[in-house]
Subunit: 188 residues, 2 copies
DNA sequence: CAGGCAAGCGGAGAGCTCTCCGCTTGCCAG
DNA sequence: CTGGCAAGCGGAGAGCTCTCCGCTTGCCTG
């Protein structure tokens, strides 16, 4: 049930081509045609391998995910609240870095995000962090909400349109975490 | 600086045509061409009046906004926490109703949401509600986060893909509000 | 009640995403 | 080694959003 040799080769070619296009021509040039031409395959092949443009982008993103996960591992021994903080701040930095690329993905298929590997991974990690912090709460729901802080369109609006500093976003999230943590303290 | 008579007439025609298309052919048929034909104008006119597809949809949505605002007014005399609850539950019901339409708007231009009149209005209202509840918090930021719970793609994913009942979403939000409220109680 | 011009109009067309289908090719069974 | 066929391939084309620009029209000024 695994990919045929030529298919796997083309998958890699397309991913590599996408990185090259991104570096030399910027995020807005990342169209199926451009990538296909750069990779030396037909557009049909791009869509056969990646289903849609957003999927391709998320696959690209995932190749950068390792760094973030290693950073997280460095906090493994700290208490839940610190780990949650580290996660949220790390995500903010990640988004700040990959803003343009993520905006492309969102514009081309907003719903693909929730099905992407990065989202699922982050959601799982956040869910267990929140559950550790306060067992009485709907952790899976809160995890979604926290991840929504990193919706590219919102983030871009806050940073660009409203000209908020990154610090404001981080401390907003910190306050929220404090609120969540306090939910179990005194079950009013 | 006001719209010329023919322009205003066409704006109304387009809006009415859009409602008709929506009722008879469903949300997915709401394309510029279809609406233009139904309204008896050219596509150019549609885009001259509405800038993009999402804008048109948000204008449509806004015409239904009155009912929600009246409902809110009914709670005006209650304490902030109750008003916030009423707001959030009302929004959930609204989204449940207009899900298909809002998905269209999001798919066609995710970033347009933050600039739309409904978003701005809701953001203002939420900001002051949150500020009333706990003055020590970044109310504008929290208002954004709360509104992100109503991102069409997320909501649809939770309701459809994950098959969560609407009640789960509402009570998740309630818990969050409790957490926020508690933030000021004992400044730890 | 002209005459001039800013504003509006329509639709051809550019540029995109994604589908479809006739042809080609890797892979396994015999 | 060979034959058969599932899987993969390429690119034409459907269908969409939005732009551009030559023509038309409402409205104000004198």
């Amino acid at each position: 049930m695994t990919e045929r040799a030529d298919a796997a080769r083309n998958r890699r070619r397309i991913l590599d081509a996408a990185v090259r296009v991104l570096r030399t021509q910027g995020a807005s040039a990342l169209t199926a045609d451009t990538v296909a031409k750069e990779a030396g395959v037909g557009v049909g092949t791009v869509y056969r391998r990646f289903e849609n443009r957003a999927r391709l982008v998320y696959e690209l993103i995932e190749e950068n995910e390792t760094r973030f996960q290693e950073e997280l591992a460095g906090h493994a021994s700290e208490p839940p609240r610190e780990r949650l903080r580290a996660f949220l701040h790390g995500m903010a930095d990640l988004l700040e870095e990959q803003r343009a690329l993520l905006l492309i993905a969102e514009a081309s298929a907003p719903a693909a995000r929730y099905l992407s590997r990065p989202y699922r991974t982050h959601h799982e990690q956040l869910t267990s962090l929140v559950a550790e912090l306060t067992p009485t709460v709907d952790a899976a729901y809160l995890a979604d909400l926290l991840l929504m802080a990193y919706t590219p369109g919102l983030f871009d609006h806050q940073r660009g349109e409203r000209d908020w500093p990154l610090e404001r976003i981080k401390s907003g999230l910190d306050t929220l975490v404090d609120g969540i943590a306090r939910t179990t303290e005194r079950p009013s």
